[in-house]
Symmetry: C2
């Protein structure tokens, strides 16, 4: 049953290979000082940095540099970003990069005018911002996290060995995002594939929960089928514009709140993956893929009906002459075949995790409700061991 909920998502999206020009439409809405946020510098190599700097200058803006955002942005980097923003009185945070840059920009945006420590306030106590929020815009160069149209922000604290996501309210969503599928062409294949699995897993986490048969489930299946279809084209030809554009668009809708509306969700794969990520610093999507199948195989008996539907609707498993358990297991086998075919990490060992880390990762795993089975700490350890 679709429960009571509200929905608003006011991010303006500009999509396509001609979308960067719309930065010229957005910039006049904001003040002079633009904090230009980016990662390791790949945008300097491929020319995007120069293009954006030119547009900013043509619009009379002052550029405040904030490069070097790492794949799993740290609390130390966040503190640096806040300092840069305060010292330069910035009016807009312009993130150019993937989900990490966008997540980081949102974390900075809610902290600039906040006196409290952002880690404690947002990532430990999960409070909402009570201060002025500096607007965020995004030029996306990697598809996966959906950060371009949601209010989520994941920050890593290495000292505390914690990687924590906070989903803020709608006012923290980017004001605009520019999505040009061609910017994703130059990503290494491993990054592309990690993004694809991240998309797929976002949908799974919202799909595998609840007993209802509502519109969100149908939409989830549609997005899963679309991303699976396009992924098989993209791994053969990463420059297939149609496939990369569908992947990019699917990423946005996989995690912009729509498919979770009116239903329960289960984010345990993210909890397990993020805890492993804090120990290994591995790519987010790969930590998710490494723990997914052991987790889903473990909870499958508790949500059998949904796993049967998943097998039939997403993977076209024929039910004829099979028990529900067989159909459901065949669905997970098809999923596993697809994961191996696109080449995601199938174990935590591949990502550098070792047996002696299991207890620590398990302790760092938040146990959430919402899934077909609320895990005990022992079950978390068991699933992590099976993921090694």
């Amino acid at each position: 049953m679709l429960g009571n909920f509200s929905y608003k998502n006011a991010t303006k999206l500009y999509f396509g290979d001609d979308s960067l020009q719309f930065l010229n439409e957005e910039l006049p809405k904001y003040g002079k000082n633009i904090q230009l946020i980016y990662g390791g510098g790949s945008i300097k190599k491929n020319g995007l940095y120069d293009e954006i700097v030119k547009i900013l200058k043509d619009n009379g803006k002052t550029i405040v540099e904030d490069g070097g955002v790492m794949p799993n942005p740290t609390i130390e980097k966040l503190r640096e970003g806040i300092r840069i923003a305060r010292e330069n009185n910035v009016d807009l945070l312009l993130a150019v990069g993937g989900g990490s840059c966008c997540d980081y920009a949102k974390a900075v945006s809610v902290s600039i005018h906040c006196d409290e420590d952002p880690w404690d306030k947002y990532y430990i106590r999960f409070e909402e911002p009570t201060c002025e929020i500096v607007p965020v815009g995004c030029v996306l160069t990697m598809a996966g996290t959906g950060s371009e149209m949601n209010a989520g922000s994941v920050i890593t604290n290495h000292e505390q060995k914690l990687k924590v996501g906070h989903v803020f309210g709608e006012e923290v969503m980017p004001k605009f995002s520019i999505l040009n599928p061609k910017y994703t062409f130059s990503l290494p294949k491993r990054q592309m594939v990690a993004g694809i699995y991240d998309i797929f897993n976002h949908i799974c986490e919202q799909y595998f929960s609840g007993e209802d048969d509502n519109t969100s489930d149908y939409l989830s299946e549609a997005l899963m089928k679309s991303v699976v279809h396009s992924s098989l084209i993209a791994i053969e030809n990463p420059e297939d514009y149609e496939a990369r554009s569908n992947i990019m668009w699917t990423a946005t809708w996989a995690l912009n709140t729509l498919i979770a509306k009116g239903k329960t969700t289960d984010w345990m794969v993210h909890m397990l993956g993020q805890a492993a990520g804090a120990y290994t610093d591995a790519t987010h999507g790969m930590t998710l893929s490494a723990v997914s199948l052991p987790y889903y195989r473990y909870i499958m008996p508790y949500g059998l009906k949904k796993f049967v539907r998943f097998a039939e609707e997403v993977w076209n498993v024929s039910p004829s002459g099979k028990t529900d358990e067989q159909i459901a297991e065949e669905g997970l086998q098809e999923m596993e075949k697809w994961m191996r075919r696109i080449g995601v990490a199938m174990s935590l060992s591949e990502l550098g995790a070792t047996e002696d880390m299991i207890d620590g990762i398990a302790d760092a795993t938040f146990i959430l409700e919402g899934g077909y089975k609320v895990l005990t700490k022992d079950e978390v350890k068991q699933i992590l061991k099976e993921s090694l």
Copy 2:
């Protein structure tokens, strides 16, 4: 291929059987004078009118009455609504009803501060508003048109025998809409079914166009499957909350611009149905159902691949041992079976149209591009004759 496009839809939705209370959150954002727009008075019988009046008074608002909006709102009624709004200096147009009330409210909203004649400006010349737009809010009591989260507005001019829709820009979308599935329970079954077909047809018009295989097509199939599934429950038990809530939610997403993004669309069934509607004043959804199958059977050979996909994905037609034409025709047969089962109008004669009206209806039919075959006037007449 997903082409270049922009997307923004900032309507705030409050969904569920507890959603009316959120009117208290929205009202303080607007001035004192609220134009209360409603239809034939059913909301006075079922108590909703009293509930809303109480909330308006509790929020210190002055109520400006504007009842009597008819199912196909006329240009004369629109002129009356504009006069009421101007005389009372209204700050918010609150539409309580179905798509007609909401469409009408949007037409008033773009006309209050506009000196030109709204019919000529918006429904003949299709211009955009250049004046201040008065905000619109909506309390929805019927699912179908999607008007609660889009910028469309259809107005009928009986003198000119024209029923014309204008899709305005995003700034004309309602600021908020309240969607309580229980408000749809009291609708006569014929109205419910007309709404269901309207939803399905909105999806068809965006789906049956283009040769691409993009995410929008997958989403369209998901919405079609969901509304077909729920419709079969709702015709047996109109008070099945789960079914009615899925129908209501599907209606919103079937026509809030999402599934048309990045692709071409074909609105010919609406053009044919609206022209017939201007002659018969029949219920919108029923005019669409009456012309749909003759139209789709006519264009099927020109878009065969998509009709094959439709048959397999939406209606689970098995392709084995069949030609593409057979698969496609079987899909349309399944669609026809479903239409008969829920009880929509299967011909224009049922709606009061006669042979002598065909030439007039054909002349009033706008011929659009975007479909698999751009119709000639003779083909329009042929399809209308087959629809009789």
